[in-house]
Amino acid sequence: MTRTRRLAAAVTVVGILAFALPAGASAASTITISGATGSAPLVALLAKKYVKLKPGKVKFKLAQGGGEVGVQDAAAGRVTIGNAARDPRPSDPSGLVFYPIAKDFFCFDTNPANTLPNLSLAQAQAIWTGQVRNWEEVPGSTITGTIDLIGRTAASSLPPLVQQLLLGGKSISPLAALKPSDGLVEQSVASDKNAIGFNSGYYASQKDVHAVAFEGVACNLQNAKSGQYPGVRNYYEVTRGKATGAASAFINWIQHSAAARKIIASIAIPLN
């Protein structure tokens, strides 16, 4: 009898804990974010700083998935904030609010074994439409063999922007291997000497890939800031309806505080 009673007591305690613990944990409000892989490193840095400034008040759950996924997730109410990496479109779900937070650049990048100094618009078009398939035919290439095109899946907002701003409206060849994130494009380019891909600034600036100059302008933060480099896009935080509560406070902090501006300036371009 005592054993069964003890067992019953144990079950009760576990039951109470199971209900009580999550309730206690939710004292800090949680902001869930998903979307663009390009702005993910920036948002992660901002969130880290923000948590430090408001200890115990706010928690973040960060996921990636791609800019288009971020917009859809926000529209479906799956996340508090979606990271978008392109301007709003008329075809976007209605009721979304886009809060601009920063600008970023994007580059063509190759394996460090191929120190391609520059791509002209015509060369980039020939490579990415699949018209030129061998590095031998690309002046300045330091390797030979087939060109491996590494692109992004449709979950990303980057391919349309690359086509618009760096390829003069030409479409990327369906030959391209499609990767689901900026990180995986960087990894694929870094591990394949024949590869060429395109990456957001943070990833293209890493040591394991070589950022290729476009039309004679080096692809880096400085040239993007000065406006010389054409491959620049806006990052947004997207909410369903106007942002409220913790999300609103966070977005407001990103847009207006000096601390956030300093972080943005370190890896991207702050808004005016």
């Binding site: 998935g65 075809s91 398939r133």
Partner: protein
Amino acid sequence: MEPPSAARSSPLGENRRRSSPPGRVFARLREPWTDRQAAWRLGAVASLVLLIIVLMVAFVAVRAWPVLQANGWISWLGTGGNVDHQLGQMIATGQHPPDSAYHLRAWPLIYGTLLTTGASVLIGLAFSLLAAIFIVEFAPARIRAVVVPAVRLLAAVPSVIYGLIGILVLAPWVGSHLISPGRKDSVQNVVQIDGTGVLVAVVVLTVMITPIMIAIVVDALRAIPPAWTEGAAALGANRWEVVWSVSVRAARPAIVAAAVLACARALGEAVGLSMVSGSRGFSPNPVDGITYLFEPIRPLAASMVENVDAINAPPVRASIYAFALLLLLSSLALSIGGYVAKLPMRRQGLRV
């Protein structure tokens, strides 16, 4: 359990009852069941399993319905266009997409599934049969004592580990040693090959499923009554003849069962294959000769995993459910097929 109101309505027993309701419940549970009780209760549990399966198939079918309806019951399984492009187009279609947003032709994914599963089960079957015969009939006791536990351990290794070895070791090796620049050039206007693809996927999948098959076949061969094999030996058959004509024949049902189980695991393998298959909705063309082995594919289960990020777009969600429905029905068909395959042997009087 005693409702609290009952305790309140009988003041005499109040004290005793309030102190011990959990105790009384446990005590009642510990009483032995009558046969009739046991039959009912166990029957209820067993039918619950059946009910869950039926509900699961129904749920998945209902969720997959928009895709089946928009594309046609059969035609979404067919060829046409680039399946990766179709899945991609589905993402930005909003929360109330029109029927046209559901356009899907999933043949490359089905082809990839059939190819990897079929090839790896065939190779695995041959390999596991020979390995099991060696273990049961020819291996010295000392080797057997090492090999059998090793096989069981291999069967329990999580598949993602095989996938990791595949992507980090096997695929780069294939990419740099087996795929010549000339071979890459030969298909450069059709598809890019980088090491991941049919070959590595089949190898990894075979390694994944063979240990289970070996374990099952070994158990079956061991269960053959000694009188049968001894009889054959007494008639002058050597060991190989005994095994091949008596043991393996008698163990056919178990071999079929092993193949069915392996098929089921191969069909559902997602993460490992997502890593090594080349991850592209492409149908390799046998006309390409040896290059065929290096061309990328992507099976259904891997496609489900890879599109899970976009699950909030209704067409993507419905497509993932459609893939799930296909896999569910295939495994259902496999179990039924396995049962049917065993029927003739059962008629011969073999215990199956």
